[in-house]
Subunit: 447 residues, 2 copies
C-alpha cells in the first residue's frame, strides 16, 4: 500500500471507528456466536496472491464483529497462526487445526517466547522427576536443572534462565558460529556425569551477531533421546522460511517442542507480533493454569475453547492477529516472498561491493539480509570506522563481536529499500574508510 | 473528544503518517539530541485543565520527532510516569525526576508488574542470604522463600510465585475482605518458626472480587521491619487516587517498595498501559541486567540514561507513553477526576436502587465503581439470575464468590455511561428477577 492509498484507507478506517462509537448502543453486549464459529468462515490457508483492502475490510463487519472481542480475538489468532505455520511448512503437530494437540500464539517478543518455553519445560521435568523420586522437593530438583544455548545465542535466553532460576550453560559454536551435535553431546555428558539434569536447549536459527544457524538435524535427535525440551528461536530468520529455497534452514524442526519467529521483524507486521508454536499445548497450560471463578466460563471444559491466558505471562490480550490477517491477505504469500527475496538479493549486492574492495573482509557467510564485515586491521580501526559512520548519521550500524573480532553489521530492513540505497550506503562507507585510513596511517607513522 | 472531532483529528493523523512516509528520506537516521533532552521541554506535571488536540499534536513534531524513537520513547515514559505519580501523590522516592533513585515504567499488565516485583524481591533476598550464609546454594535458599497475598488477591499473584518458583501463602482477609496487620503477623510468625524466609507481600487495593482494600498502614510497618518487599497491586482502584477525597485509600504507600495501577482500566488510556513505580530502580536492574555488545551504547555508564529493558520481561518496547501524554493533556487532571467521580456516583446510584428492593442485598461496601449484590436466597437462585441476565444480552455481569456466597458484580466502566444506563440496567435486572422468582417458587412448591 503506497502513501496515497494509505491516506484513503486510513480515513475510511477513522470513519468506521467513529460510526462504531456513534452507534454502539445498537450493538449487543455479548455475541451470539458459538465457540469455533470463525474457522469455517475463513480460508484454510493464506492466499497466494494479494487481495484488495476492500475485500479484507468487508470481512471485519462480516466475520469479526459478530464475534466481538471474544471469541473473535482468540479464534482469529489460532487460525492466523495455522496460516503462518503452513506458510513456513511446519510439521502438522504444531498446528491447532480443528482438533490438534499443538497450536500457535502471539507473544510480545522472542524473549517472552523463550521464557514461556523454558518455564513449560521446567514444570514438565519437575513433575517427571518428582513422579520418579517423590522424596525430592521442587527446590532440590531445580538446583540440578540445566538449560543450554549456543555461545552465540541472544542474551534473552540467559535472561529466561535467570528468571526461571535454573542454571544455563553456553555450548561452544564451531567456526561457522553454529552449534553442532557433538558440542552439545559433550556438555550433556559432562553435566549428567556430575549429577545434573539437562532439561532445555534453545537452538538459534539466525543468531543476532552474524545470522548463523545451529545444526537442528544433529541437535534434535540428541534432545529427543535425552528428554530435553528443544525450543527454536528463529526471531529474525524465521520469516525467510516462507520461501521454499530457504525452508531447508528449518529442517529438523520436527524434533522441536516449540518454535518461534517474529513477523514484526521481517514480515511487514507492525511491532509487536511474535509467533510461537508448541507441539503439545497441554505442556504450556500445565505450567500456568489457575482458574479463579471470575475467569471461568461455561465452555472451559468443552475442549472447544483456547484460553490463551494460560499460554503467556500477562492475563490481558490485544487483538494482534488482525495485523496478520490484513498483511497476509493484502500481500499474499507471493508478495511476502518477493519482499524477503529482495532483501536477500540486496544484502548479496552489498556483500559483493565489500568483496570488491581489498581493504575489507566479510566475517560470516551471508545467508539472509545481514552482512558482517570489517576493515582488515585492528579492532580499534573498526571501532573508529563505526564511529565515523554513525556520527555522520546517513546510515546507522550496530556492531558485534565474533570471537575476538570487532565486526560491523549491515542489515537490510526497510520495507522501501532499493538497490540505490545499497549503493549509496557502500559509497558512503567506502569514502569514510578512505578518510579514516589517511588519518590512521598518518598517526601510525608518527608514532 | 466526540465522534465528530475524532473524525477530523483521526484524518489529520492519517495525513501526518502518510506525509512522514513520503518524506522519510529527508529525515536523519539518528537523532542529534543528547540524553535528558526531553524533560526540560515539557511541563513538570500534568495540566489541571484540558489542552486542545492541536496543542498536543504540535508538540509531536517539536518535542518527539527530534528525539525519534530513541531516546524520546524512553524519556517521555519517565516523565509521564512522574506526572502520573504526582497525580496520585506518590511519595517523592517513587519519582525519577532529575536524579531520583526511583521511577516509573509502563508494563503490559498488572500481572507482569507483580511478577517483576516478585523477581526483583527474590534476587534481593537471595543475595542478602548468600552474603550472610555463603555455604547455601541459590536452590537451597529458594526452597525456603515464601511470598504472601490476601485470600482475595488476584490469581496473577499466585501465578507470579509459580513462575518465580517460590512458595506462596494466602493471608486470611477479615469480614470486610481486607488483610489486616495481625493476620499477616500471625502467618509470618508461624513460617519463621518453621525456618522459612518471608520475602514478598503483595497488598491489594481494590480486589477483583469486591474492591476491598488491604490495610496498608498496618501491613507496611510489618513488612519494613521484617525485611519483606511490599508490592501494592491497585490495578483497578489506583486511578481513583487522583481525586483528593479517595487518596486516603493509598495511605501507607510510603512503606511499599513498588506500586502498580492500570491507567488502561479506568483512566481512559487504551489497553495496554499498566503503570509501575519502584523506590529503588537498582533493585529491578539488579534482577535482570545482562549487557551483550549489540545492546551496549556509549551513554550506558553515564547515569543519564534509563534502560527500560532491565525493568521488564520483553526486550522490545512500544511507545505507549504517547497515549498517556495525549490523555493527560486533553482531559487535564480535572477532566479525569470528573470521569472517576461520575462513575463512583453512578455505582452509588445503582447501590441505592438495590437497597430499595427488599429481595436483594449488597454484599460488600461500595467504595468505587463496583457493586456486589445478590438476591437474598440460595447460590443456585443467584446463578440462575446471572444466567438469565447474561442470556438476555442487554448487559453483561461477571460473578464472584465472597466466602461461600455466589455474588453478582455490577461494574461501571464505560466512558460514555450515564444515569439513564444505570436505571435501565436496574429495571432490567429487577424484571428478570421477578420473572425468575415466579418460576423458581413454582418449581420449589412442586418439589
Amino acid at each position: 500500500m503506497d502513501a496515497a492509498e494509505f491516506r484513503k484507507r486510513g480515513k475510511e478506517m477513522v470513519d468506521y471507528v467513529a460510526d462504531y462509537l456513534e452507534k454502539i448502543e445498537k450493538r449487543q453486549v455479548f455475541p451470539d456466536v458459538e465457540p469455533g464459529y470463525l474457522r469455517p468462515l475463513v480460508a484454510d490457508s493464506a492466499p497466494q496472491d494479494p487481495e484488495s483492502f476492500e475485500d479484507v475490510f468487508k470481512d471485519i463487519e462480516k466475520i469479526i464483529m459478530p464475534g466481538a472481542a471474544s471469541p473473535a480475538c482468540t479464534e482469529l489468532e489460532t487460525v492466523m497462526l495455522d496460516w503462518l505455520g503452513k506458510m513456513v511448512n511446519l510439521p502438522k503437530e504444531f498446528l491447532a487445526e480443528k482438533d490438534g494437540q499443538g497450536g500457535g500464539v502471539i507473544q510480545g517478543s522472542a524473549s517472552e517466547a523463550t521464557l514461556i518455553a523454558l518455564l513449560a519445560a521446567r514444570t514438565k521435568i519437575i513433575r517427571q522427576v518428582q513422579s520418579e523420586k517423590p522424596e525430592l522437593t521442587e527446590a532440590e530438583i531445580m538446583g540440578t536443572l540445566v538449560a543450554y544455548a549456543s555461545d552465540q545465542a541472544h542474551s534473552s535466553v540467559e535472561r529466561a534462565a535467570l528468571i526461571g532460576a535454573v542454571k544455563i550453560k553456553s555450548v561452544p559454536s564451531d567456526d561457522t558460529f553454529s552449534v553442532c551435535g557433538s558440542a552439545l553431546k559433550k556438555v550433556l555428558d559432562e553435566d549428567k556425569a556430575a549429577g545434573l539434569i539437562p532439561f532445555f536447549f534453545c537452538a538459534t536459527l539466525g543468531t543476532t551477531s552474524c545470522c548463523s544457524f545451529d545444526k537442528l538435524l544433529e541437535l534434535g535427535p540428541i534432545c529427543n533421546k535425552e528428554n530435553i525440551w528443544m525450543h527454536i528461536d528463529a526471531a529474525y530468520a524465521g520469516s525467510a522460511f516462507i520461501c521454499p529455497e530457504f525452508r531447508h534452514l528449518l529442517n529438523g524442526v520436527e524434533f522441536a517442542d516449540s518454535f518461534n519467529f517474529n513477523p514484526h521483524k521481517w514480515l511487514l507486521v507492525n511491532f509487536d507480533c511474535s509467533a510461537m508454536w508448541v507441539k503439545k499445548r497441554s505442556d504450556l497450560i500445565g505450567a500456568f493454569k489457575l482458574e479463579p471463578l471470575y475467569l471461568q466460563h461455561h465452555h472451559q471444559e468443552s475442549g472447544l475453547v483456547t484460553d490463551y491466558r494460560h499460554w503467556q505471562i500477562p492475563l490481558g490480550r490485544r487483538f494482534r492477529s488482525l495485523k496478520l490477517w490484513f498483511v497476509l491477505r493484502m500481500y499474499g504469500v507471493r508478495g511476502l516472498q518477493e519482499h524477503i527475496r529482495k532483501h536477500i538479493r540486496l544484502s548479496h549486492q552489498f556483500e559483493h561491493l565489500v568483496l570488491q574492495d581489498e581493504r575489507f573482509e566479510i566475517c560470516a557467510e551471508v545467508v539472509l539480509g545481514l552482512v558482517c564485515f570489517r576493515l582488515k586491521g585492528s579492532n580499534e580501526l573498526n571501532e573508529a570506522l563505526l564511529k565515523s559512520i554513525n556520527d555522520a548519521k546517513k546510515i546507522h550500524l550496530v556492531p558485534c563481536h565474533l570471537r575476538e573480532k570487532f565486526v560491523l553489521r549491515f542489515a537490510v530492513c526497510s520495507r522501501t529499500v532499493e538497490s540505490t540505497h545499497i549503493k549509496f550506503a557502500w559509497q558512503h562507507i567506502s569514502q569514510l574508510a578512505t578518510d579514516l585510513l589517511k588519518t590512521w596511517e598518518h598517526n601510525h607513522h608518527q608514532q
